[in-house]
């Protein structure tokens, strides 16, 4: 055997030893690296939290909303991930962040209770902070042993969870698209009858009309002008106008009507009969009209509230 292969063998043996020693040293002093190596070798301990545990129900959602943006699957700041019980208990670059049973010895708790101005405070300034109740929940969980198996009701004095309600945001483009087909008609009627026709809300294409201020000048002919909008009108106030039962076919064509006010008009039983098929109708006001009590029985049987001068329920 020549000198070169032998010395090459010796050299690579030394390289292997030095590399192994380097990896062992890094595994000793860099916990995150140790976990990475154990993961690769399939030797990592992966504790799981029970589905009904205090951790799963109360602690994990706090991390989800406040911490996982920087300590999750997309970014593991400080090599710390909080998006699973196993990863939380594993800790970060400098080791464990939770000391079960010892609140004061838990780095995570120390960080979340630092003043916001402190550079080490978590979440950092500018990010939504944990509330006092959130911090109490985490404190109680660590003090109780930071277990993934502890049942959700085991910690009796934990603050009640806050239910967050998400309010849907309106989409102006979508609203514009919905209004577009009848926008010209709406605009023309708004010019012709100022203040009488409005959208029910800024994110809706549905309409409400109020002709009550027009009084006797508003009759059947005017009402018929609103027919192109028959599928969009949800509320109509025709109180004090000149309409009679002759308007019944127009009103019956407004199939999505929910609220109809006919106070102080000359409508009578025929109009009530025409309204009966309207599936969305919730209330009708007939105060001061010629509607006899017997004519509204069918409406009431369908659950529609009928307001009348002699017959308020």
């Amino acid at each position: 055997m020549s000198d070169r292969p032998r010395s090459a063998l010796l050299y690579f043996a030394c390289v292997t030893l030095v590399t192994a020693a380097g990896i062992a040293t890094a595994m000793t002093f860099r916990p995150a690296f140790r976990h990475q190596v154990l993961d690769v070798l399939g030797l990592a301990d992966v504790p799981q939290a029970a589905p009904g545990s205090f951790y799963t129900a109360r602690v994990a959602p706090l991390f989800e909303t406040r911490c996982n943006g920087c300590h999750g699957d997309k970014m593991d700041r400080g090599q710390l991930r909080l998006d699973s019980f196993a990863l939380l208990m594993r800790g970060g670059k400098h080791g464990a962040v939770i000391a079960p049973g010892r609140v004061d010895g838990s780095e995570l708790f120390r960080r979340i209770t630092l003043p916001e101005s402190d550079e080490q405070a978590m979440p950092p300034s500018g990010k939504p902070p944990l509330t006092k109740d959130d911090i109490i929940v985490i404190r109680l969980w660590i003090a109780a042993g930071a277990s993934g198996a502890l049942p959700v009701h085991a910690i009796k004095n934990a603050p009640k969870p806050v239910v967050e309600i998400e309010i849907p945001q309106s989409d102006p483009v979508q609203v514009h698209r919905q209004r577009a087909p009848l926008a010209d008609v709406v605009r023309q009627l708004q010019v012709r009858f100022p203040g009488m026709l409005e959208y029910v809300s800024r994110d809706s294409a549905d309409l409400e009309m109020n002709a009550s201020l027009s009084g006797g000048t508003f009759g059947h002919a005017q009402l018929r002008e609103f027919l192109p909008l028959q599928d969009r009108i949800l509320r109509a106030d025709l109180s004090g106008t000149a309409i009679t039962d002759g308007a019944a076919p127009v009103l019956a064509a407004m199939t999505r009507l929910e609220v109809l006010r006919l106070a102080n008009t000359k409508v009578a039983a025929a109009t009530m009969q025409a309204l009966a098929p309207l599936k969305s109708l919730r209330s009708v006001t007939v105060t001061g009209s010629a509607v006899p009590p017997a004519a509204v029985v069918a409406l009431r049987q369908r659950g529609i509230v009928v307001y009348g001068s002699d017959d308020v329920r």
């Binding site: 070169r4 390289v15 920087c70 700041r77």
Partner: protein, 223 residues
């Protein structure tokens, strides 16, 4: 009168810009690693920008620099690299004044990976108070994704550096060819250089101009 014995024994193989580049990269890589590890992100930023300027300089110097600095001097087809590597196990007598075919491949690989690392750093953020100078040009999600890539490339760099050091050790301890000394002094034993070979040095002022232009480009892009 006899010639200078030093001149007889040693011959210049590396110019000053290449040597300064090499050791500056070593220092900047260490600074970048430690500063990121300890959270000194301003230091990390400037270290990364300097690294980027040096890498741009090296790319240009690889086209217009001295003989051994040029890519065409050390970039070889894969067949030749494999033949060279196979020859290492035996008594390979081929001599190279600059990078050998395997070393040339390593240099190009390291430059490419370091360049990628420097560029991804420009778009990265630390999720706290620091973001790279170009991070605001992309969405936060993209920046976060690039930050993950920045972290992964670092591991590739560690592996390449380890390979580089092991290879240099192999030449030193097994083949008896000290590659560290020439990278410090610029000179190599004549016995390790092809017969009759001599370097054609590029003017140092040209290197300075290229470096200033590279630094200016990085400054213009990022500050």
């Amino acid at each position: 009168m006899s010639a200078d014995p030093q001149k007889e024994v040693h011959v210049q193989v590396w110019d000053a810009p290449v040597r300064l580049f090499h050791w500056a990269i070593v220092i900047l890589m260490l600074v970048s690693w430690l500063s990121a590890d300890q959270g000194y992100m301003r230091v990390h930023l400037w270290s990364g920008l300097t690294l980027l300027a040096l890498l741009i300089f090296r790319l240009v110097w690889g086209l217009i620099g001295s003989t051994t600095a040029r890519f065409r001097d050390f970039l070889h087809p894969p067949r030749k690299v494999l033949a060279y590597l196979r020859g290492l196990a035996g008594a390979n007598k081929a001599l190279f004044a600059g990078h050998n075919p395997a070393g040339g491949l390593m240099v190009v690989g390291l430059i490419a990976v370091l360049l990628l690392q420097a560029v991804t750093g420009l778009f990265s953020n630390d999720g706290l108070r620091f973001h790279g100078p170009l991070a605001l040009l992309v969405s936060e999600e993209t920046s976060t994704g690039i930050t993950g890539l920045h972290g992964m490339i670092f591991n590739v760099i560690l592996v390449l550096v380890w390979l580089h050091v092991v290879a240099v050790g192999f030449y030193l301890f097994v083949k008896g060819d000290n590659l560290i000394f020439p990278m410090l002094t610029g000179k190599k034993k004549r016995a390790h250089v092809p017969e009759g070979w001599s370097i054609k040095l590029a003017h140092p002022l040209m290197a300075l101009l290229v470096l200033m232009a590279a630094a200016g480009l990085v400054f213009w892009l990022t500050v």
